[in-house]
């Protein structure tokens, strides 16, 4: 049972808030990814949980044990937290062979209730009592044999890290981390130094590893694809502030705000500015793409007035938060990109409650002869499995994905429509998620 609980954790250097009041609950056996752009505080968060960094305030509990509490002055050092940590650059000890790298930590364990079972798994049960002892050479050999078999590095045991390829070094690092049987495994962008093909391979191996070890994985990445494919839950952070903590598909389909909608998904979501009001039937009559009258039909009931009042209350609460130092890395509203052919002048008016932005994922843009919107192919990038097209509508550009090897000519006139119930409506005033729904063009 390794459940990790973060309560109001903040890490700041002077007025710079690396992590700003983060509360998070990571379930036992979960595979949680901390996702966000570089410099958002995700690595700091991970290092704080592992104990390599000391939070400024807050409380961290691992497996029921409070490992950090600023109020009580508790700070259990990382070596006593019994966690595993996989570093971005592997941090293999260059002066030791692969075998020594893996066994070094094991040769050092000295406690009561140690045993190694037939599979080569280290069992640590200090409550069993008995004399504190070290592992024997045979026991260490057994464990090393097991973990090196998992990552398939048995042929390299006598080599030095410098004599291994990047992928092999990565495997050694994993084996070294697994050897003492940690309850929790922290990984800091472990795949970012590998080439694309190897990364894909290691990704699937990590997934298998998670299944076979049954430990809790916390994984830092800036690669949204990695987060989507691996995680049971994604924790999205921006500027030190938690943006969303949900299952991958929820994050993808119902992003909390325009930042998340833009960050998750490749090719990126299309943002379409819209202006209009909610009608009696709950739908929104809006004008989009300069010349189209459209209707946004929500999939769930939504009352705009109520929604605004609750959103504003949350924002006010966030801003009213007491801070010992003013946050110099301010939380600015996310400036979502609207793709256009040529630069247009920014609208100079104040936004109000009738301003919306509709997010349409590329897979919901359908090219068909009976589509209501007229467009022209701006560029087409076929990969064989699918083709990513950019379509020009007036001065705007929309990105779509068409499955199969369809060939388009650049400049070719097409017609398109928005398919399905996957469109997302955000308020332009605060960038927050309002509802999901369908876009009908009149």
């Amino acid at each position: 049972m390794a459940r990790i609980e973060l309560t109001h954790v903040t890490k700041r250097w002077g007025g710079f808030y690396a992590v700003d009041d983060l509360s998070l609950l990571i379930d036992d056996n979960a595979f949680v990814t901390l996702l966000g752009p570089s410099g958002c505080g995700k690595t700091t968060t991970l290092r704080m949980i592992a104990g390599l960094e000391t939070p400024t305030t807050g409380k961290i509990v691992i497996d029921g044990v409070t490992v950090f509490d600023s109020d009580a002055g508790i700070n259990i050092p990382p070596n006593k937290r019994r966690v595993g940590f996989l570093f971005q650059n592997y941090a293999l000890w260059p002066n030791m062979t692969v075998y020594q790298n893996i066994s070094f930590g094991l040769s050092n364990i000295n406690e009561a209730g140690l045993s190694v079972n037939e599979n080569g798994e280290l069992i640590r049960n200090p409550s069993a009592g008995g004399e504190a002892r070290k592992l024997t050479k045979e026991e260490i050999d057994k464990i090393v044999a097991r973990v090196s078999a998992i990552v398939k590095i048995q042929p390299f045991m006598d080599r030095y890290p410098g004599e291994l390829s990047g992928g092999q070094q990565q495997r050694v690092a994993i084996a070294r981390t697994l050897a003492p049987g940690p309850r929790v495994l922290f990984m800091d962008e472990p795949l970012s130094n590998l080439d694309a093909k190897l990364r894909l391979e290691m990704r699937s191996e990590l997934q298998r590893l998670h299944l076979s070890t049954g430990s809790t994985f916390v994984y830092v990445t800036h690669d949204q694809m990695e987060a989507m494919t691996l995680a049971t839950r994604i924790c999205l952070i921006n500027n030190g502030v938690l943006q969303q903590y949900d299952e991958p598909l929820t994050v993808y389909n119902r992003p909390n705000n325009t930042f998340i909608a833009d960050f998750v998904g490749n090719p990126a979501i299309n943002f379409i500015n819209a202006r209009g009001t909610q009608q009696g039937d709950g739908s929104f009559s809006v004008k989009i793409l300069d010349s189209y009258e459209a209707k946004f039909v929500p999939t769930e009931k939504i009352n705009v007035a109520e929604w605004y009042s609750s959103a504003e209350k949350e924002i006010a609460e966030f801003e009213a938060k007491e801070r010992p130092a003013e946050k110099i890395n301010k939380d600015l509203p996310f400036n979502y990109p609207v793709a256009t052919v040529s630069d247009t002048e920014k609208e100079q008016r104040e936004l109000d409650r009738e301003d919306w932005v509709i997010g349409v994922r590329p897979e919901f843009i359908r090219i068909s002869d009976d589509g209501p919107i007229e467009g022209e192919i701006f560029s087409a990038m076929p990969t064989g499995m699918e083709t990513t097209v950019r379509i020009r509508v007036g001065n705007y550009l929309l990105t779509g994905v068409v499955f199969g090897g369809v060939l388009y000519k650049i400049g070719q006139k097409i017609r398109l429509s928005f398919a399905g119930n996957g469109a997302v409506l955000f308020s332009r005033v605060n960038g927050r998620f309002v509802c999901c729904g369908r876009v009908d063009i009149a």
Partner: protein, 628 residues
């Protein structure tokens, strides 16, 4: 906030918990301890000199002038500004030739030496940077010939004792007619009499200092030339920038930080140098301090204080520079080989010039020292001029009994002279102790500071350890002299080791800090996570990985200690260590003995350097080439 859900604990308990967490990290505990120790060992001796300037010294002018001499009970207690007042305002009458001239005390004891000190420091900086910088450029950026030979022989003058070149200058240019004393080689061989300004005073002192410290410039500037990303220059070349413009607008600004470091280092070292102005007869702050008669002891301390102030000034300037935004020494290249400038036929000219010149500065002193020990009388080069091999002698080496004839003054030959070997033993002992202590402490500081980069205390400890580096050696020597006399450990190995350790810690801490900064913190964190204890992380991971630079950190204090005179000469009697013994033989006129000792010392240092270099890859030059 949800604070009330927290487990509230008492304030004391919380503070204790925090302190416990802090102190259980080895790097914090070590920093705390070292910070306190270094504060005492560095600042306390300095404080004692400052206090010495306002203290009453029995039998000296301050006690006479204040008429407190007879009152023995106030001696240790009363403070007086007499020494300061007298130094700056009093006049004394001296005899110049037949006339009696009245001059102010300050001009004799303070202004003249001070101006000389500053002048030789400035000239030495210029000379060292010009000579070392040009050499660095030629070696790293052009297709000069014999690079390997040249670059190793170029640093010889730094490895050798300071006075080597000064003595060699004397042996070359002195003449009985101009300077008095023995005729030098130029007179003996070519009958050329060099003018007085060439033989003594500011000119030769500046030249010798410049040659001695040029290796600093070569190592620091060359280090940047070598690591500089060649793309920076190539980018300019592609834009069709003329070569000279590339050099002045791109290359030179990039080495500016190294030039500044060299300036500071050479300036403070030149300022505190004693042997060179001593041999070449120039009155500087350091020679004046030593030459001050004992009844002006308090005023001598004022000179030391002034030297210390220069040290502080340099430290402040150094801080300004290294913390500036335009600090681009870290511009290191990913692109491998840069194209070398083709010197054409000039490469042979340059190479030939440097080979000849380094022969004079690197090989010649050794040969000359060796030859000196076989001359029957100092300066008697008759075996060369007349070509008679019989005009040489081995008596200086091999005399095994106590004889007073043959100009031996009752000394046994070098090989049989137990005093000399005891002094060598003393030097060796001090050097080993200093190297072990300074190397260990410096390495620990480098490690701890790199672990606590943001901490103010860490940077304080680092600065405290660094301070003696930019302090003129003599000022540090004086500080420990006053301190040592005060606590009654004058003329003990303890005092020598203490002074040496404090002065040499920066060598080790700099090279350790540099290398530790390059070591990713994750390397150690990977071990922390696995609950590997601190000493095991150090001995099995950190030290093996960084062994080259750590060994440099031990090697450099050792080498420097072997040939140190300025720092130690005030701290012990003449027979204690070999470098002070040299002064004794010089005073006795037994120049063959000092030449022999110099020869042994130089060869010893070179042999050590080579052995360590071959065994571990560490070398003196890799140790100097760093930044704080």
């Amino acid at each position: 906030m949800a604070n009330e859900t927290y487990n509230r604990v008492s304030g004391f308990r919380r503070t204790w918990n925090r302190f416990h967490t802090y102190i259980t990290k080895p790097q914090n505990a070590i920093l705390l301890a070292l910070g306190i120790i270094l504060t005492v060992t560095t600042l306390f001796p300095m404080y004692t000199i400052v206090r010495d300037t306002v203290r009453l010294h029995p039998g000296s002018i301050d006690s006479q002038g204040t008429a407190l001499e007879s009152q023995t009970e106030v001696m240790g207690k009363t403070l007086t500004t007499y020494n300061w007042k007298n130094l700056f305002t009093a006049k004394i009458t001296t005899r110049v030739g037949r006339e009696r001239v009245t001059r102010s005390v300050a001009s004799i004891y303070l202004w003249t030496p001070l101006i000389n000190s500053v002048l030789i420091s400035i000239f030495a900086c210029f000379g060292a940077i010009l000579y070392g910088g040009v050499f660095a450029y030629l070696v790293t950026r052009t297709n000069l010939k014999f690079k390997k030979y040249l670059s190793s022989i170029f640093i010889f003058p730094y490895i050798m004792p300071q006075w080597t070149l000064a003595v060699m200058w004397q042996n070359l240019f002195n003449s009985n007619a101009v300077t008095g004393g023995n005729d030098g080689l130029f007179v003996a061989l070519f009958n050329v009499f060099m003018p007085k300004w060439w033989c003594e005073g500011i000119f030769p002192v500046s030249v010798v200092l410049a040659i001695h410290y040029a290796p600093f410039a070569y190592i620091l500037i060359g280090g940047i030339f070598r690591n500089m990303d060649a793309n920076l220059e190539e980018a300019a070349t592609i834009l069709d920038t003329p070569r000279w413009k590339t050099f002045f607008r791109i290359t030179l600004p990039l080495v500016k930080p190294a030039i500044l470091s060299t300036v500071l280092l050479v300036f403070s070292s030149a300022m505190g140098s004693y042997p060179i102005p001593h041999y070449l007869k120039l009155s500087t702050l350091s020679t004046q301090y030593v030459g001050m008669s004992s009844n002006r002891a308090g005023q001598a301390s004022i000179l030391a204080v002034i030297m210390m102030l220069f040290g502080f000034l340099i430290l402040i300037v150094n801080q300004r520079i290294t913390s500036g935004r335009k600090n681009f020494t870290t511009v290191t290249g990913k692109s491998g080989q840069s194209s070398l400038v083709n010197l054409g036929a000039a490469k042979y000219v340059f190479s030939f010039m440097f080979v000849i010149f380094t022969l004079f500065t690197g090989i010649m002193p050794i040969v000359l020292f060796a030859v000196e020990t076989f001359l029957p009388n100092p300066g008697d080069y008759s075996f060369l001029t007349y070509g008679i091999a019989g005009h040489t002698t081995t008596k200086w080496w091999l005399t095994a009994e106590n004889v007073t004839e043959n100009g031996m003054y009752g000394q046994k030959g070098i090989l049989y002279n137990s005093d000399i070997w005891r002094a060598f033993g003393g030097t060796f002992f001090v050097a080993v102790c200093c190297a072990l202590l300074a190397g260990t402490i410096g390495t620990l500081i480098g490690y701890c500071v790199s672990k606590n980069r943001r901490s103010k205390w860490a940077s304080y400890v680092n600065n405290m350890a660094f301070l003696p580096y930019l302090m003129p050696s003599l000022a540090v020597g004086v500080a420990f002299f006053v301190f040592g006399s005060g606590v009654g450990i004058y003329n003990t190995f303890l005092l020598l080791v203490l002074a040496g350790t404090v002065k040499y810690i920066p060598f080790a801490s700099r090279s350790a800090l540099n290398s530790m900064m390059q070591l990713s913190g994750e390397i150690e964190e990977a071990a922390i996570i696995q609950d590997i204890p601190w000493w095991k992380r150090m001995t099995q991971i950190i030290i093996p990985i960084q062994k080259t630079s750590i060994i440099s950190g031990f090697l450099l204090p050792f080498m420097t200690c072997l040939r140190e005179l300025t720092l130690f000469m005030l701290l012990c009697g003449q027979g204690k260590i070999i470098t002070t013994m040299l002064g004794y033989f010089d005073e006795m006129g037994l120049y063959a003995f000092s030449s022999g000792i110099n020869l042994i010392l130089i060869i010893l240092i070179l042999v050590f350097n080579t052995i360590v270099n071959k065994l571990t890859g560490a070398s003196i030059d890799s140790g100097i080439g760093g930044r704080s």
